[in-house]
Amino acid sequence: MSFNDVLSLLRISLHAMVPLALTAVGEIVGETAGLFNIGLEGILLLSAFGGALAAGYGGPVVGLLVGMGIGGAVALVFAVINTYWKGTQMVTGIGINLFAMGFVAFGLIQLGAPGFHDVPNAAELFKWRTPMGLMSPMILVALVLPFLIHWLLKRTRVGLMLKAAGEMPEAADVAGININRIRLLAAVFGGVLAGLGGAYMSVAWLGVVTKQLSAGRGFIALACVVFSGLNPLLALLGAFIFGFFQALAEWVKTLPSKPIPGEFVSMLPYLITLLVVSGAIGRVRFPKALGEPYKRE
């Protein structure tokens, strides 16, 4: 393995880290407040698709913004159902995923090529030329954001409010905090970040939209959240680790001689996720009210 190969691997890892980090950090905010959104996978798909479409019309930045908007909108539906309407979070999430699977497949057919859509070059986000090769500026965003969120959760009153809503909503309610509203805002924020991650995949990184573009990333992001114990910095680390293994899988596929069949290499990210999650559990403590709708009476 040459030095160039290592750089290449690092570059791909950083790129692969972005959607995982963004989604995971967003979900951390949501889970801190008590909402468990399993529909992240669906949000990634929908925003990748929608963002790509929008980018085709208005350019990459518009694409990213539209992706964020889609993510926020879907999360809004999730949030309203599970705060004001006291729904079942798990079921809503599964519904979102099913819907997204069907909708994106359907939409792709509408665009002409079933299962595949190439984002035109003009719609792709620029990349910087670096010694490591072409890198997306979004990597920087993904590196900085977790630190911001960490600060927000630990040191501001907003962070206190979120934690109170997730840990003991009764106490927060008595303190005058509107539980439904803060949970809604937290979930929407998480959705916006996931939407950014999804749009990034099509507009700023891979340049295509496929039926299975997300490839389980939404769930890997959830694994990151679990691994991190709701600490954004650890989630960033986790995202990098998983991204690395995804990159590794891709790299092995490009090798001229195939030591391992491609199928096993594709399994690798999921196996690693499994191992990491199995090893890390035990020291993690989640908000007490996570997953429970809050009823005042």
Binding site: R155, T156, R157, L160, K163, E167, M168, A172, K288, E297
Partner: protein, 531 residues
């Protein structure tokens, strides 16, 4: 600071005017309840569970909107859109189940109700303010420990400080003494008197007639959502108040315990119990850890013989829960022995323990004792579902026989429900507890472990349960009664162990105790200090 509280001839500070509250499922919680609150006054709000006390005060403090009626202050009608508005106005409530975020420190919990959004928290400032407040009020707590690590009494103090730090005019306390030792209760009442002298109004929600007599100026009685009495405490007798609470001719119906004053009853004259050798239940040097890893049961030894009730008194949180769990297969203790008629019961499956003749009436009927979505029939076989009489080959369940069994239980214990297939959550608390008691007694046990068996029940149901236990005792069974209700224990136990921080401070008979001594022992004073 608040000129409404200036005493005036007409003056009231707050008035609840014909409040009616109907919940979304149709339950009428309050019916045209009216209440006046004046400064310099402690009002007792008396009533059984479900009478509407908590609902009324939640409406007063802004947490619930009334269906009809309004809350008026000297300034005019007021409708609070949120608890914070009520707090800003000057009404603060200390709940029975503390509204504290466990992972936060006391200072952080107080800061939560203070700061405006999106500014940085200045914990140091809050801490300083709290220090001076603690000096003033005489309530002391560590400020930088997560509150979930504090003792229950200390947690309550955090709650009170939280409210006091907002400089309220009306303080509402919901059953504050249920988690305090007699000494702590005295301290609390001293504080309340001082606040009253400063001009504040205080509402004390309670179901304990004794407390009402001790601390209140006025008593308001609620029954089934209606205001049935509003009298000066000095002018009302306990019998009158009890009658108002329950609403029917008393005589033998109501447990005499409710009406007692400060005396401990004489020991009952009965046949002497043979206490030679080990009891049916024999416990020796039991040590067990709690959920947080600390020692909860610190070397407990005692025997319970057939034909007696052994009571364990003490404020909740001193290891009683862990002790009961260790004896009923729900917790594995660290060391010690415990046997039923010689057979070990430590560290084995609850079902095995039941087979050895142990019945367990758990302290939390919703969490532990029942599967609420299950039907009565399904709950009636919990723990005995594998017994021969209910089970056929291949673990087939004989529903026919089970249903017959449940109907018998319903008959014998007067359980009000539509039938064996009614969901358990549709039953009232009293009927749920009767179901549990019936289920446990049907095991024909040698010993009954009853943990807080009458908690949260209305007088009638509580009385019934106590009677049943006494009957079992008279029939020769052994009863282990764990209760935070001191009067209950003292009135029914033949011997009492007072538990504090995992150990028995003393084991004696009720006639050897007087209230003061018990109170001190419950608070941890050693024998020498008590003398």
């Amino acid at each position: 600071m608040n000129d409404q509280s200036a005493p005036s001839e007409t003056g009231f500070f707050l008035k609840a005017d014909r409040i009616t509250k109907v919940y979304s499922d149709g339950t009428v919680a309050l019916k045209e309840a009216s209440l006046e609150i004046r400064p310099h006054e402690i009002v007792g709000l008396l009533g059984e569970n479900g009478a509407g006390k908590t609902t009324l005060t939640k409406i007063l403090s802004g947490l619930l909107p009334p269906t009809r009626g309004r809350v008026v202050s000297s300034k005019g009608p007021i409708r609070f859109a949120s608890p914070r508005e009520a707090l800003d106005f000057g009404i603060g409530m200390v709940h029975q189940h503390f509204a504290l975020v466990g992972t936060f420190t006391a200072a952080e919990n107080v800061a939560l109700s203070h700061e405006r959004p999106f500014t940085r928290i200045q914990i140091a400032k809050t801490q300083q303010a709290l220090q001076s407040l603690m000096e003033e009020s005489g309530l002391h707590i560590p400020l930088d420990v997560p509150v979930e690590k504090l003792a229950v009494g200390e947690q309550q103090r955090v709650e009170i400080l939280k409210v006091l730090s907002r400089d309220v005019d009306l303080l509402i306390l919901d059953e504050p003494t249920s988690v305090l030792t007699p000494l702590e209760v005295d301290e609390l009442f001293t504080l309340l008197r001082r606040l009253k002298d400063e001009g504040k109004s205080i509402i004390l929600i309670t179901h304990k007639l004794k407390e009402v007599g001790t601390i209140t100026d006025r008593v308001v009685v609620l029954r089934h959502g209606e205001m049935v009495g509003d009298v000066r405490t000095a002018e009302a007798s306990t019998e009158q108040l009890a009658r108002l609470m329950v609403g029917q001719a008393l005589d033998e119906e109501v447990d005499a315990v409710e009406l007692r004053t400060d005396e401990i009853p004489q020991a009952r004259v009965r046949e002497p119990i043979d206490r030679a050798g080990q009891g049916i239940l024999h416990v020796e040097d039991l040590v067990a850890k709690g959920n947080t890893g600390e020692i909860a049961v610190d070397g407990v030894s005692f025997d319970v013989y057939g034909g007696e009730i052994f009571g364990i008194a003490g404020v909740e949180g001193n290891g009683q829960t862990e002790l009961v769990e260790s004896l009923t297969g729900l917790r594995v203790p660290m060391s010690g022995t415990a046997t039923i008629n010689g057979t070990n019961i430590l560290g084995i499956d609850p079902r095995e323990i039941y087979r050895l003749g142990v019945a367990h009436i758990p302290e939390d009927r919703w969490e532990l004792g029942l599967v609420l979505p299950f039907t009565l029939a399904e709950n009636a076989i919990l723990g005995v579902h594998r017994w021969q009489e209910f089970r056929g080959p291949l673990t087939l369940l004989k529903w026919g026989r089970i249903n017959r069994h449940v109907r018998q239980l319903m008959d014998r214990f007067d359980i009000q429900a539509t039938g064996p297939s009614a969901p358990a959550k549709s039953l009232s608390g009293g009927n749920q507890q009767k179901l549990i008691v019936g289920r446990e007694l049907a095991k024909d046990p040698a010993i009954i472990v009853a943990s807080q068996p009458t908690r949260g029940l209305d007088i009638g149901a509580a009385h019934y349960i106590r009677q049943t236990l006494v009957e079992m005792r008279d029939a020769g069974r052994a009863i282990l009664l764990v209760s935070a209700d001191l009067d209950e224990v003292l009135a029914h136990a033949d011997r009492v162990g007072i538990m504090y921080e995992g150990r028995f401070m003393d084991v004696c008979t009720p006639d050897e105790l007087d209230r003061e001594r018990v109170g001190m022992l419950m608070g941890g004073a050693t024998e020498k200090e008590v003398e």
